[in-house]
Symmetry: C2
């Protein structure tokens, strides 16, 4: 026997698909949405659709960007195209930008190597990084993956892949707390880490 | 300076409006949505809109229902229209139905009296309950608000309002744990509570 209207059940199911949202929480979110005026619910749904439809990856750095062209950082003439900072995630670009100390470009891998979870080199944007470096304009690649096991291993792997191109490969200094996540580092720590980067 | 595409920012803001969802969690949810195929994102948005558009309150019991007419419980000929169980919330109807022991109808108040939070009798569906009772067919009203301070006060208030109609007013027995919430009670407890109800 059903007690919730099917449309409500469907909304609850959709919320429950989200990571970290259980059935009870999904119910609470669904009831909250029902309590909103219809135009606000439309804005909510619209924002989700809009984001999904308009956001693509920058063809150069693979960061999230709106529309088809280059992302604002790759398109900017103020950024130094000879330095590339390699991060695992778009959120890490934001963390780096927050430190206001870095003026090069980025490359977003969209993950780290993780053999345990079946993530190999072909599942990350590694080939597009090598292609960029092969063009010869890049002089330094800064590894800024998280300072945990998988992040380290990914940095090591990339470093070995990049060596043949004769490019300088550096790693963020251990100002960032070992075992932590870049996303939660404070600005001062990130700045220190950037200054103290060393060749690998 | 902006680092996230504005469309993504907007989606994050919308998620952050939900109760219990902070900014970091909203970001995580937004990135998860971006990682879904477009048709699944459409289903997600559609489920939210559909639910909001199609769900209304039953004109008799004020429970959530799909479409304009009576809810399935009020419309059912198998339910005993002479008994009304008064609950604070649609979720409490589900808890009661789960116990499979109750065959009367419901009345959903959509809240409890809470002077501290500015919720008075006019903010709840109390008048429509009195109107139902005034029609004379109802013989018993079972108070099934949560057994906490506000739920008790609401039950006491309603009991006093209903006395002039000469209707029998009962209260769920304290099988339900005092200070708890009806929504989380197990079936056996709810059944015991229903059997042991007493006149107030």
């Amino acid at each position: 026997m059903e007690y919730f209207p099917p449309a409500l059940e469907k909304m609850v199911e959709q919320f429950a698909r989200l990571p970290g949202i259980g059935h009870k929480t999904a119910q609470r979110l669904a009831f909250f949405v029902l309590s909103l005026p219809e135009n606000e619910v439309e804005q909510f749904a619209q924002a989700i659709l809009e984001a999904k439809r308009s956001i693509a990856l920058c063809p150069v750095c693979q960061n999230l960007t709106e529309g088809e062209g280059l992302c604002p950082i790759c398109a900017s003439e103020k950024r130094d195209g000879s330095v590339v900072c390699v991060v695992a995630d778009p959120k890490d670009v934001i963390a780096m930008e927050r430190a206001r100390e870095y003026h090069g470009t980025y490359h977003v891998l969209h993950g780290v190597l993780s053999p345990m979870n079946g993530v190999g080199p072909d599942d990350l944007y590694i080939k597009s990084l090598l292609d960029r470096v092969a063009q010869g304009e890049i002089q330094e690649v800064i590894m800024a993956t998280n300072p945990d096991t998988e992040g380290e291993a990914t940095a090591m792997y990339l470093s070995r892949m990049l060596k043949p191109f004769g490019v300088k490969v550096t790693r963020l200094a251990y100002g960032v707390p070992v075992g932590g996540h870049l996303e939660y580092a404070d600005d001062a720590t990130l700045m220190r880490a950037l200054e103290g980067r060393r060749e690998m």
